[in-house]
């Protein structure tokens, strides 16, 4: 839908497409370059001027498997999915309660949620680190899960609360009159109508967990390492195995590729609704 009522001349359109093309190159070139470099040999990545025609090789991707780097991918997948389940299980009832039962207490809770969103990440991880270390849970995926939940829960509650508040209350009231309790009303009536928002929250939770670097970096060192930590540690070494680094980066982007083409509207809804509330 366009709000513009102005008809455009051919030349204006040409200029607009030209500007779009510049942005497109700016946005896509780094990603395309990573893809191209990931199927080169180590020697080919060093050649200047860079060759565009060459025989692609999957050596770098094989190295991910033989080099034991699949474990990071396994960790990241586990952390992200457990986080989705926990975040939804905890945030849906909390958000529903906050949306339906207004009180002064609720307003203050909202403030706490916001401070966690605004606090610098290292300000959250410093106290977290002390506790995780005290509990002897360092270098476990469990520790990373808890830390991610800390950010995902407030965000999920915030989004869902806003959505629940907009739902018409009459249907729920008639269900309550018919003898259903609050929990049954939530499960049978509120959840089905809120499915799009719940999917958005699930996807955003996944994206956050999958992309998050600092918490995972501080809390893990070896066994619990996630994909972003792997990318950063490879990028920080002096061995410069460029094709391998590119291949790991591509692996780290797979969920983004899938989401942007398959479920883009849910991401956009989550990102912008969260912003415009």
């Amino acid at each position: 839908m366009s709000t513009s009522i102005y008809t455009r001349s051919v030349w204006t359109r040409v200029v607009l497409y030209f500007v779009l093309a510049i942005f497109l190159v700016f946005f896509l070139f780094p990603i395309i370059w990573l893809i191209i470099s990931s199927v080169k040999t180590h020697y080919q990545t060093l050649v200047i001027p860079p060759k565009l025609i060459f025989k692609p090789t999957a050596a770098a991707y094989r190295k991910i498997i033989t080099g034991g780097m699949l474990r990071s991918f396994k960790n990241s997948i586990m952390i992200s999915f457990i986080d989705i389940v926990l975040a939804l299980l905890l945030s849906i009832p909390a958000a529903y309660s906050l949306a339906r039962f207004k009180s002064k207490f609720n307003e203050n809770i909202g403030f706490w949620f916001l401070t966690v969103r605004m606090a610098p990440a290292f300000g959250v991880i410093v106290p977290m680190y002390i506790v995780i270390r005290y509990l002897k849970l360092l270098d476990t995926t469990f520790a990373v899960n808890i830390a991610h939940l800390l950010i995902n829960l407030p965000f999920g509650i915030w989004l869902l609360k806003g959505y629940f508040e907009e739902l018409p209350i009459e249907i729920e009231e008639s269900a309550l009159i018919d003898g259903a309790n609050r929990l049954q009303t939530l499960i049978r009536i509120v959840l089905p109508t809120s499915l799009p928002m719940i999917i958005s929250v699930a996807i955003l939770t996944f994206m956050f967990s999958w992309n998050e670097f600092l918490f995972a970096f501080v809390l893990t060192s070896n066994k619990g390492v996630t994909v972003p930590v792997l990318v950063a540690s490879l990028a920080g070494t002096m061995t410069f195995d460029w094709p391998l680094m590119c291949a790991v980066s591509i692996g780290a982007m797979i969920p983004a590729f899938i989401f942007v083409f398959v479920v883009q509207r849910y991401i956009v809804r989550g990102l912008t609704l969260g912003a415009l509330k």
Binding site: L20, L24, W33, I48, A94, G123, V124, V126, L214, L271
Partner: protein, 280 residues
């Protein structure tokens, strides 16, 4: 009432401590001399705050943070607004553009940092090792203090402009079309309509985008961490990188907590000022 508490209590009993704990504990830590590997934890009032504010590095980081946040916010917002205005036009293929433009917003920031580090590398990078030498610049970009700061700003603009674009586009699409019909009758051209209808109607969307962007840029760590780790020297050491260094390289967790609280206060002050502008 009983029904309410039954649903509210279990979820809040789990959620509230998880959410409240880090903030409360952070304040507690900031008032103590708390150094990792040293057993004794001493209550020292505001000494951590005093030490950090009077340090040379804090002032330098403040300047770098101001430049980074200012420039990055300005460009993401400006370009994001331009893109939103263009893709709000009746153009063929705008859905495809929109999809492709969303991509950088959801790829891991460490990958964004690595991609630009690779491109700008002065030996093997497509830009730093191939294009720039052709244009007459041979040096290393990430090794030059000014250019390194410019490079991390550019990488951040790359990865965060799409989000601004999406928020502003949503704001743009919520403007009622009849406003423009009235403008057309009055004979206003596109730029007049932009100045007197579009931008004023988008006021709150723009301010919300500004707040989100400010908080995000102010707290950004990973892109810079991967590209330069705050260097060369301390040329790209914004507050989060300084906090990281104090906390996890000097292991002075109390002072890192103090810096986090100073940052939190700055964030609240700036957001409050912006929110107030939204209401007037």
């Amino acid at each position: 009432m009983k029904e309410q508490t039954k649903l509210l209590l279990p979820s809040l009993a789990v959620v509230a401590p998880i959410v409240a704990f880090p903030t409360v504990f952070l304040f507690y830590m900031s008032l103590h001399q708390w150094i990792l590997f040293i057993q004794e934890i001493k209550f020292i009032w505001l000494e951590n705050f005093y030490n950090i504010i009077t340090s040379q590095e804090f002032l330098q980081s403040f300047g770098i943070t101001a430049i980074f946040v200012g420039a990055s916010t300005f460009f993401t917002l400006l370009f994001g607004l331009a893109l939103a205005l263009i893709l709000n036009e009746d153009l063929k293929g705008k859905g495809v553009f929109r999809t492709l433009f969303t991509l950088p917003a959801i790829i891991p920031p460490v990958v964004a940092g690595f991609a630009w580090k690779f491109l700008l590398n002065s030996e093997v990078g497509f830009i730093g090792g191939y294009i720039l030498p052709h244009l007459g610049y041979e040096g290393s970009i990430l090794g030059n203090p000014q250019l390194a700061l410019l490079a991390v700003i550019m990488a951040d603009v790359w990865s965060r402009m799409p989000l601004m674009f999406l928020i502003l586009l949503a704001g743009l699409q919520s403007i009622p079309p009849d406003l423009y019909e009235a403008a057309e009758i009055d004979g206003a051209n596109y730029w007049k309509a932009l100045r007197y209808i579009t931008l004023p109607s988008m006021r709150s969307a723009i301010i919300i985008a500004l707040i989100i962007r400010f908080i995000d840029a102010f707290n950004l760590l990973e892109t810079i961490f991967v590209m330069t780790s705050g260097g060369p020297g301390i040329a790209t050491q914004t507050f989060p990188l300084l906090g990281w260094k104090i906390g996890f390289q000097y292991y002075n967790l109390g002072e890192a907590a103090a810096l986090a609280i100073i940052m939190l206060i700055m964030t609240i002050l700036v957001s409050q000022a912006l929110i107030r502008r939204m209401r007037t």
